[in-house]
């Protein structure tokens, strides 16, 4: 017997069954893979933090290669000496500070609560690195990153990434030639915390000037560049009280 697919009752039943089948299928896939996906995201955060302080597997001057996933947990343990959570005046040690979700903390701050600011203290070749995580807005979606500072507030390395910037343009914030420009720039200008701006047309394509608090912008990606500048400025402002204590200790 042929089914009458034109009847309203058939349409409703068909739609209901389809939603249930597709919904359960997707829910099953999502829940069975969620542990593996979570693990990948945790390892990625550790890789990013290590990359910012210069622990990587780059083979030439153009490549961005993180510490491989099988080694990253051990390397993270080796290089990151302290993970701190700054909440107002309170500073606590927390071995899972790298898992703090900056987006959630931003919502907390908007709701009037004091946000938790994670900070990582790394040590490599006898030198101390203070690694600050950051999050901001690009042209299409979120941009985020990590910036490693020494106790003079000079950048030792950065890592940036994005969710949906334009491929070939704003998406290039995670490329070596852009990130490497930040190394050596200071976030201080005459003792004022100004961050680093991504400047257009500053006639410094290979970023030889390290005293101008600016790096050369990406062509065709003005808004992503402005987003990165704003993200650094805002984050530096948030961490200013703690950064002051580092400078005072010196």
């Amino acid at each position: 017997m042929a089914i009458n697919t034109e009847k309203n009752s058939y349409t409703v039943i068909f739609a209901a069954i389809m939603v249930v089948i597709v919904g359960s299928l997707l829910a099953f896939i999502a829940s069975s893979l969620s542990e593996k996906i979570g693990e990948n995201q945790r390892l990625e955060k550790q890789q990013n933090i290590l990359y910012a302080m210069g622990v990587n597997e780059n083979v030439d001057e153009g490549s961005v290669n993180f510490v491989s996933t099988d080694k990253v947990a051990a390397e993270f343990e080796k290089y990151i000496k302290e993970q701190l959570v700054i909440q107002g005046d309170k500073i606590t040690k927390d071995d899972n500070a790298y898992l703090i979700d900056l987006k959630k903390q931003e919502t907390e701050a908007k709701a009037g609560n004091v946000r938790k600011l994670p900070l990582f203290v790394g040590e490599k070749d006898g030198k101390t690195y203070y690694i600050i995580p950051m999050r901001g807005k690009g042209l299409w979606d979120a941009v985020w990153g990590f910036m490693a500072l020494d106790d003079n507030m000079v950048v030792q390395g950065v890592f940036f990434d994005h969710k949906g910037e334009t491929p070939g343009l704003g998406a290039n914030i995670n490329q070596r030639y852009f990130m490497d420009d930040f190394t050596g720039e200071s976030i201080l200008d005459n003792n004022r915390y100004v961050g680093i701006s991504v400047a257009k047309g500053n006639n410094d394509p290979i970023n030889e000037r390290k005293d101008d608090n600016a790096v050369d912008a990406l062509a065709g990606a003005t808004i992503t560049g402005d987003g990165v500048s704003a993200m650094i400025r805002q984050t530096v402002n948030l961490y200013k009280p703690y950064l002051e204590t580092i400078r005072a200790k010196k």
Binding site: E6, T11, K163, G168
Partner: protein, 215 residues
Amino acid sequence: MALLSKKDTNLILDPLADNNPITIQVLGICSALAITAELKASIVMAISVLFVMGMGNVVISLMRNIIPSKIRIIVQLIVVAALVIMVDQVLKAFAYELSKTLSVFVGLIITNCIIMGRFEAFALANGTWRSFLDGIGNAAGYGVILIIIGFFRELLGSGTLLGYKVLGDPITKTGLYAIGYENNGFMLLSPMALIVVGLIIWVQRSRNKALIEEN
């Protein structure tokens, strides 16, 4: 008996050239303009569309006799969206790096008019095997054009291919840059992709006069 009859072979080969979804049917142009600034992105997009369109055509073809015609477009959308989410989740779990590149394009795959077009025009009226071939053929036709555009845009716009510097180093002035070559930044902007598509259409039609429409 051969695995593919002549008709079946045509299902795969036609969309590659004489009935190409981008250059002849002028579908899927938006994503071809948006994501082809890099060759890698073009390749990833081509592979994902190949999977989604092949599987989607099979699913729609299997259900073609029971889908109520009133809600067939919604059913097609649900099928393509579910497939795209599945691909994305599996990649996130087993090929995390690739999934980060792909995630930008998920929305674009769901809204790709070629996919909905093939569901509507072919899978709803044909058997499973032929629908599968049609899906693969059209996705390959789309992918070929994407890869050609991505190749020229990345090569002329950034001087690289898949991230490797093939024309030399623009900063230290080696290779072609030593004799005064400059990257063409315009290649990285979407309008240039449209011009490249136009050039491909021009080349294709001048080689095969049968494709030129009579007024």
